[in-house]
């Protein structure tokens, strides 16, 4: 399987990268670790004539407790014991991404912006042609939920849910300048599902920032999948909380692998603040999260099972946080 020809650019600064992006507006992809983009290119999914490799851009590097450069390799983040101590849920998630070989090349930014996945999208050109393509690539209809408006491909990153639960912010740089937004805001919850993010043209995720509050929280991430490596999440449940002797000071829960974007459930966690995190409350909360999610049939496990497991995995993730906080049920 050879790649179709493209022009590869390798800027050495952010400024140069953005300049290239402007020059090739509409006809390029950024290339981070390549472990998601290049398989998709080999399958002729949404090819662009220009690739802008970000591996030589120093501004996208660096890792500390407050700032993680988007081009940090997952394997390097995984090895960082200080990070693991500060954000155990983030360490959980890192260890669950794909395989050690993918993590050796894959990056933080790449995982946050991993292309959404679907049985009808992640297929060869031949396969998709035999079905008349789909809404997300070259076609005009969705085969999962038959209609022509919205794509239901599944968000399959492991890191976003836990970082969102930790109140992480994304630092973005684009031709129009820099901005910082809550990480969850880069995903387009209201969109058509075809694009996986709402970044502006040429905009790059430069880094992820973690607030001081995140270090006061215990966190956890649990992933449902068929095999303990390789597989994308069929469901990823992240929780982060600051507990004061079992009473909730702050609590955030986010899930991935279920819908087109990762999702945080502030409206469901808000009533728990100030309350004792009892098993009963936790069960009711997990049940409510389950009722809120709408997986579709485009991954290996059936959607009703993934939904049912949302209740279990969310509950267990919060229990793990409770355990890590040293709080009792």
């Amino acid at each position: 399987m050879h790649l179709d020809p493209f022009e590869l650019h390798r800027p050495s600064s952010l400024e140069e990268a953005l300049r290239l992006a402007t020059a090739h507006a509409g006809g390029f992809d950024y290339l981070a670790g390549g472990t998601d983009l290049l398989p998709n290119y080999k399958m002729h999914l949404n090819l662009r004539p220009h690739l802008i490799a970000l591996d030589a851009v120093a501004e996208l590097r660096g890792r500390g407790l407050e700032r993680l450069g988007a081009m940090e390799r997952l394997a390097d983040l995984e090895r960082d014991t200080e990070l693991a101590r500060a954000y155990p849920g983030f360490a959980d998630a890192l260890a669950e991404v794909a395989t050690p070989l993918v993590r050796a090349s894959g990056t933080l930014g790449g995982n946050l912006l991993v292309e959404t996945r679907c049985f009808f999208f992640n297929q060869s050109h031949f396969w998709r042609e035999s079905l008349g393509y789909c809404l997300k690539a070259e076609g005009d209809r969705c085969h999962v939920v038959p209609q022509k408006e919205r794509c239901y491909a599944t968000f399959s990153g492991d890191l976003a849910p836990v970082l969102m639960a930790l109140d992480a912010e994304a630092e973005l740089a684009g031709p129009g300048g820099r901005r910082r937004v809550p990480l969850g805001a880069i995903y387009d919850a209201a969109g058509d599902g075809i694009r996986r993010h709402r970044l502006g043209p040429g905009e790059i995720v430069v880094a992820v920032h973690l607030p001081a509050a995140a270090r006061a929280r215990a966190s956890a991430y649990l992933k449902l999948r068929v095999r303990p490596s390789f597989d994308f999440p069929e469901l990823g449940a992240a929780a982060a909380a600051e507990l004061d002797g079992g009473r909730v000071r702050s609590l955030a829960v986010a899930v991935g692998g279920l819908e087109t974007y990762p999702r945080r459930f502030d409206e469901l966690t808000a009533p728990l603040v100030g309350e004792h995190l009892s098993d009963d409350r936790l069960r009711a909360f997990s049940e409510a999260v389950m009722r809120a999610v709408r997986p579709v049939h485009n991954t290996f496990l059936a959607p009703d099972y993934r939904r049912k497991m949302t209740r279990v995995y969310v509950r267990r993730a919060v229990e793990k946080v409770r355990e890590r906080s040293g709080a009792a049920a």
Binding site: M1, H2, F119, V226, R227, V312
Partner: protein
């Protein structure tokens, strides 16, 4: 690791013999087909059908042909002769003729200067078709249908093969049965998923010859199919088998792309390589048949088996492949390791518009074994006896005959049961572990080589081995047996070295090449150790005889007093009087030059005289008894097999390293089918043609495996050996399923057993008010 020293006076056999090609494989120096280059080689590419079932109206290849850099574009009419692995079911063509029958069927083949040009040429081919009714449900296909997939379907249906057998009187047995059990099994299709994608290189030369290098398990059948379809006599075709990166049955049929590649080479006069990507491999399939079976078991009050009443509908996909054999095997391979005095079987294999099913490791034996062993677990519970006791009561004794005329010779099945029961701590665990933990027993047997060679002149041997020794003392071994990773080259070399008494490094197994390798039927039906092993032994004994004669002349003692030492020949009662191997060799060479020797093996006549009687007959059978320990997360349905005790009777294990490797690998493959591997179809469309979405188990899913090799010498096996390549798979699945039952009280009969099925099963049991083990 056990002792490195083999027992019983052998120097090699029975010990742990590292694979002789190991040093080449670990350094990347072993040559697989795709590693070979030929000067001026073109890239061959195939246009595959996007239609599941359609009549071809026209194929316009003119634009593709006129593209610069394109050397040839072929369609089906060029070589329309049908072929197939079984001589009675030739229903495939190298390239589709008239119709396409599944998404992936080959419509045209292109040879071009490079991959991008070949891809562009493929994209320029215009095909017009008339779509036909799609058939994807084998249960519908048993009745007459609109647009049957093949003309040969029985009575306008899609039935490719129907088998009806009845031995004894099943109805009478059920009428007097004290206990009956019924299990209906449903099995998704699974596939071999070897790591090396198929690859073929073909080169036609001006001397009128065609050379084909291919990743094949059965070079001889490929040789024949090439000859038949291309119309070239066999002696003008040379088939070479480089290293093969796994097969498991998936490289045992002659495959259309191999013939298409050769056709492109003939057309262009240039070497052509066809290399598959992973999707090509999945679409070529020939994996284990999706199967629905239904077994009723009758037993007396003590659990003694009275009858099996079995039926199966199996999904054959688009071609026949090994399907006639598969149809028989899905019945007759229920006939061991227990005595079943009455047996009725109705099996149908049905064509569908899906990638063809074929032979996969433990071909035809895996799904029926699952159903049998789960049924026996249920029967033991109904009768109120331990599953081990139930099996002991019904075990086939050595040197017995089954009701369908299988000749059972050696069996150490009882020893397998005893060994695994003790090692696994069964008596302290069965039904005594806490809820969610379980232990289960599954057993099995399998053919040690198929008695009836397919596609072959029956009077010729099934295996032949030639040896050649020149003055350097190295022994060249020629045989068309096909090492695909199981270690048959190593065994071949070890047998020769053992018999002749020389160091293993003196023996060179020559790469399979039909110009020099005498015919052996290759790697399928778990035949190699038994058949090639016997042929190798005979060849080596022939060589030894000549060497002994040389030694006898030098030593002045008669041959019958000469004994083989280590690289020496000694006088039996005077070991101090001896000559070296080389001295004896050089003496023996004085009259003829280089020595040559040959050995061959044919299995003895066996089986009944009824229709289909030969199916499942084998010169010996392996036996197995496995115990699995599982732990289930009852809330999520996720489970893990913690340990597997594998008691196996392969007669005398000749290479313990290889036998263990076969058992461990078989358990991995069996667990894959059980836990998550599935060819996931929606209608005719394969949804998961990739190694990401086809769930081969990872290291962390593997249990600890304890191999217990308890066989006794088989009277006809080479040095007492029987097969160990496929039999080790079949017991795996039911052992785990029965352990799951012990853990959570649910019988799973729909494979793969995904976590969601476990959860559903537990919920159903709870709804029915059946608590389990104090849950």
């Amino acid at each position: 690791m056990g002792s490195a020293l083999p027992p019983d006076g052998f120097t090699l056999l029975g010990g742990r013999i590292p694979y002789i090609e190991g040093p080449l494989k670990v350094t990347g120096r072993a040559e697989y087909t795709d590693d070979l280059q030929r000067p001026g080689m073109l890239v061959g590419r195939l246009l595959r059908s996007p239609w599941a079932h359609a009549r071809i109206r026209s194929i316009d290849v003119s634009a593709a042909r006129s593209l610069p850099g394109v050397y040839a574009v072929l369609t089906g009419e060029r070589y329309p002769t049908p072929f197939g692995v079984l001589p009675i079911t030739h229903d495939e063509t190298a390239i589709a003729v008239g119709k396409v029958r599944y998404i992936g069927d080959i419509l045209a083949a292109v040879a071009a200067q490079d991959e991008p040009t070949a891809e562009r040429a493929i994209a320029l081919i215009r095909v017009e078709v008339e779509p036909l009714a799609e058939h994807t449900d084998p249960k519908v296909g048993v009745t007459p249908v609109t647009d049957p997939i093949h003309d040969r379907g029985l009575n306008g249906s899609n039935v490719q093969k129907e088998v009806a057998q009845h031995f004894g009187d099943v109805d009478a047995a059920f009428a007097r049965a004290a206990q009956t059990v019924r299990v209906r099994g449903s099995f998704a299709g699974v596939t071999h998923a070897f790591t090396e994608p198929m690859a073929t290189i073909a080169e036609a030369t001006p001397d009128g010859r065609l050379t084909v290098w291919s990743a094949t398990q059965v070079p001889h059948y490929l040789h024949r199919a090439l000859s038949e379809v291309l119309g070239l006599p066999m002696h003008r075709i040379r088939v070479i088998k480089p290293e093969v990166g796994g097969g498991f049955g998936g490289k045992s049929d002659p495959l259309p792309h191999e013939i298409a590649c050769a056709a492109l080479a003939l057309e262009t006069g240039r070497p052509v390589k066809v290399l598959f990507d992973r999707e090509d491999v999945f679409l070529t399939n020939h994996g284990r048949h999706p199967t629905q079976n239904d077994l009723r078991v009758a037993a007396d009050a003590d659990g003694r088996l009275l009858a099996y009443d079995l039926s199966a509908v199996i999904d054959g996909g688009a071609w026949s492949s090994f399907g006639t054999v598969t149809t028989y095997y899905n019945g007759v391979l229920a006939m061991g390791p227990y005595r079943v005095p009455n047996f009725r079987y109705h099996g149908r294999r049905v064509y569908t518009n899906r990638p063809p099913s074929g032979a996969m490791r433990a071909h035809g034996g895996t799904n029926v074994r699952y159903t049998v062993e789960v049924a026996l677990d249920e029967l033991a519970e109904k009768v109120g006896i331990d599953p081990f006791e139930l099996r002991r009561r019904n075990a086939l004794p050595p040197h017995s005959t089954t009701v369908n005329q299988f000749r059972i010779t050696s069996t150490s099945f009882l020893a397998c049961l005893d060994a695994v029961r003790a090692a696994s701590g069964w008596d302290a665990a069965f039904r005594q572990l806490p809820y969610g933990e379980g232990i289960g027993l599954g057993c099995g047997f399998y053919i040690s080589g198929s008695n009836s060679p397919i596609h072959f002149t029956p009077k010729m041997p099934q295996s032949t081995v030639h040896l050649k020794v020149d003055m350097d003392g190295g022994i060249a071994v020629h045989s068309m047996q096909a090492d695909i990773g199981q270690g048959s080259n190593t065994l071949l070399a070890a047998i020769v070295a053992e018999v002749v008494g020389v160091a293993l490094e003196r023996v060179h197994v020559i790469r399979v090449d039909s110009d020099v390798s005498p015919i052996d039927l290759g790697s399928y039906s778990s035949r190699v150790t038994f058949m090639m092993g016997n042929a190798a032994r005979r060849a080596a004994e022939d060589l030894r005889t000549r060497l002994v004669r040389g030694a006898s002349e030098l030593l002045g003692y008669p041959p019958e007093q000469i004994r083989v030492g280590r690289e020496r020949f000694e006088v039996a009662h005077r070991p101090d009087v001896s000559v070296t191997y080389l001295e004896a060799l050089h003496r023996a060479m004085e009259r003829t030059g280089a020595l040559t020797a040959a050995g061959a093996y044919s299995s003895p006549p066996m089986g009944g005289s009824f229709k289909g009687a030969r199916a499942g007959t084998a010169p010996a059978y392996s036996f197995a008894a496995y115990v699995a320990r599982v732990r289930v997360d009852a809330e999520t349905g996720e489970y893990r097999v913690g340990k597997m005790w594998a008691a196996f009777d392969c007669g005398r294990p000749l290479n313990r390293l290889a036998v263990e490797g076969q058992i461990e690998g078989s358990i991995h493959m069996g667990l894959g089918q059980l836990m998550g591997e599935t060819l996931n179809y929606r209608g005719a469309r394969l949804m998961n043609p990739s190694l990401l979405d086809y769930k081969i188990p990872m290291p962390a899913q593997m249990p600890e495996v304890e191999c217990l090799l308890v066989g006794e010498d088989d009277p006809e096996g080479p040095f007492g050996a029987k097969e160990a390549g496929e039999g080790p798979l079949v017991a795996t699945l039911p052992a785990v399923a029965n352990a799951l039952y012990d853990a959570v009280g649910v019988r799973f009969t729909d494979l793969p057993i995904t976590p969601e099925k476990v959860v559903k099963g537990i919920e159903l049991r709870q709804r029915e008010g059946r608590p389990w083990k104090g849950e």
